[in-house]
């Protein structure tokens, strides 16, 4: 057991704990806090892989900006404790079999695996911010611009929905 493996398992456990807690918490604000724990644990995993820039951006964008917005909306609407319903028909007849099938699929894949997954071939020095931005703004400039256009469409949609009242 080397140190990085121990850190990996600790971070993975924290991430899974946060994800389960996210579903089980009844207060929306506790669910949001659990999601922040997941985000920070994921950032730790990225750091472990040597992707420092991605780890920092993960915390700044997801842990900071997006989750603050979630928490802000929850506070603004003063959302109370959620109401629990019994299993709906869709959950009983659609959800449970699908969940079991997925679990079986993962179990089958794990038992048949030969032990080691082939590591992704590193494309240049991906850890450096310079290489990353070169890829993003030069080689993949069109997909990048298209994605930002998609976000612009979403913003316009939000404005249209907000304006409908008046």
């Amino acid at each position: 057991m080397n140190a990085s493996l121990i850190i990996f398992f600790v971070l993975a456990a924290v991430a899974i704990f946060g994800a389960v807690s996210l579903i089980l918490q009844r207060e929306p604000i506790h669910s949001a806090l659990s999601l922040i724990v997941v985000m920070v644990a994921l950032a730790g995993l990225y750091l472990l892989l040597g992707a420092e820039f991605v780890a920092a951006v993960q915390i700044i964008v997801y842990g900071g900006a997006i989750m603050v917005l979630f928490v802000f909306v929850i506070m603004l609407l003063n959302a109370g404790e959620e109401e629990r319903t019994d299993f709906s028909k869709l959950a009983t007849f659609g959800g449970i079999p699908l969940a079991l099938a997925l679990a079986g699929l993962i179990a089958a894949a794990l038992t048949r695996s030969t032990g080691y997954l082939p590591a992704a071939a590193p494309h240049g020095d991906l850890t450096s911010t310079k290489t990353l931005s070169m890829l993003l703004f030069k080689d993949f400039a069109y997909p990048f611009e298209l994605t930002s256009f998609l976000i612009l469409v979403a913003i316009l949609g939000a404005i249209v929905l907000a304006q409908r009242e008046n």
């Binding site: 207060e27 604000i29 506790h30 806090l33 922040i36 920070v40 950032a43 420092e52 820039f53 920092a56 951006v57 915390i59 700044i60 842990g63 900071g64 900006a65 603050v68 917005l69 928490v71 802000f72 506070m75 603004l76 911010t129």
Partner: protein, 403 residues
């Protein structure tokens, strides 16, 4: 024993450094409250703390004792997780952010382990700082939500809206500096400013004056200080998000706020004012005796002031400290090696002190913004100006190359 030390130096040395930094930062925070009360008092033509110790110098100790001894009541109906998490989160993140600040140029070897005058020397230290700032919002938000009080909730809401709005301008205003330095490392940014041996003129403040103004304004808003202290506007919200906190938990918010002030001052120094670099050209070697001369002058003044002090304790303590400072100044003249070593930290701390003073100065002189003024200032002025600064800097580098 020696073998043990060399083997585990990578673990022991950082722990010692963390302990030293924590001690220094908490002391500086305590005396920052003293300085703030003194400066604001003199701005308002009062004396400020004067009773506890000579010139009120023991006031922080008395305040600390009071924080520890006070009762810590918990209001009814609080959200326990959020209520307890908030002060710890605020203090922890504020202290963590100081870990990436480099205080001086030297690197030295302890037990075969090479280390710097900073806790961590990362490639992405600036991004780490922004990540910590981004998480810092939660301390305020959770305190506001968890306290089960309308004043706290309103304070928390205001604060989260304010911090989201100003974080954009804060991050964008630094991009100009990053373009000039070509590095996210704070050490790298300072070293880039050292390349021209013109001293003062090589600093980023000259090409990046717009960036600096945006950065400092946004940073004051991020730290919830006057004139952006709406989350704790006394006349409207009692004490805002920390209304329901008492004793040590309140102290944690307080220390967190002062530590953030310290971090912002350090960042301004590093990004725009050359960090540990001397403002004088390298050829002016006689300026390296400036710290010693200042120490001796301050020591002489302390003795002069101390012998006329009202209380006997003051008449003993102030001249005593003065003599110690004189001895220290003399030692700097006598041992040129030590003198060379403290040059970096001296300039760094001197610049940080100027920014801390500016913070307090602003608190003493400026009125508070109204909420709508705050929002329109952040979104309609600060953000466009910082974006324009990025475009201008990029265009200048593209056409004329780096200075």
């Amino acid at each position: 024993m020696n073998e043990f030390l060399t083997h585990y130096a990578f673990l022991i040395v950082p722990i010692i450094k963390v302990a030293i930094l924590l001690f220094l930062v908490l002391t500086v925070d305590a005396y920052l409250t003293w300085l703030e009360r003194k400066v604001v008092a003199h701005i308002q033509a009062r004396w400020g703390p004067y009773r506890v110790g000579p010139h009120g110098l023991l006031q922080p100790v008395a305040d600390g004792l009071k924080f520890i001894l006070k009762e810590d009541p918990m209001p009814a109906g609080v959200d326990k997780i959020a209520y307890f998490l908030a002060p710890f989160l605020t203090l922890m993140l504020a202290l963590t952010s100081l870990a990436v600040i480099p205080f001086g140029p030297q690197h030295f070897t302890v037990w075969g382990y090479e280390t710097y005058v900073s806790i961590a020397d990362l490639n992405i230290s600036l991004l780490v700082l922004f990540a910590i700032t981004a998480l810092g919002v939660y301390g305020v938000v959770l305190a506001g939500w968890g306290s089960n009080s309308k004043y706290s909730l309103l304070g928390g809401l205001r604060s989260s809206a304010q911090m989201i709005s100003y974080e954009l301008a804060l991050t964008l205003s630094v991009v100009g500096v990053l373009l000039l330095a070509g590095s996210f490392s704070l050490r790298g940014i300072v070293e880039q400013q050292a390349q021209s041996s013109r001293g003062l003129l090589g600093w980023n403040i000259f090409p990046q004056i717009i960036g600096f103004l945006c950065f400092f304004t946004a940073a004051i808003a991020e730290t919830n200080r006057v004139p952006f202290d709406l989350p704790e506007a006394e006349s409207e919200l009692v004490a805002g998000f920390h209304t329901e906190y008492a004793s040590m938990k309140f102290a944690m918010f307080f220390i967190g706020e002062y530590t953030s002030m310290l971090t912002v001052s350090c960042l301004c120094t590093i990004l725009f004012f050359g960090g540990w670099l001397s403002p004088f050209p390298l050829s002016w070697t006689f300026t390296q005796f400036l710290p010693a001369v200042l120490l001796i002058l301050f020591g002489l003044w302390l003795i002069y002031d101390g012998i006329r002090y009202e209380t006997l304790f003051g008449r003993l303590l102030l001249p005593g400290v003065g003599v110690a400072l004189l001895a220290l100044g003399g030692a700097l003249f006598a041992f040129p090696m030590i003198n060379g070593y403290i040059q970096g930290p001296f300039w760094f701390l001197a610049k940080v002190f100027v920014f801390l003073f500016a913070y307090i100065w602003m608190r003493g002189t400026l009125p508070r913004f109204r909420y709508d003024q705050l929002m329109s200032f952040g979104w309609k002025l600060l953000l466009p100006v910082s974006i324009a600064n990025v475009v201008l800097t990029a265009a200048a580098i593209f056409f004329w190359g780096k200075p």
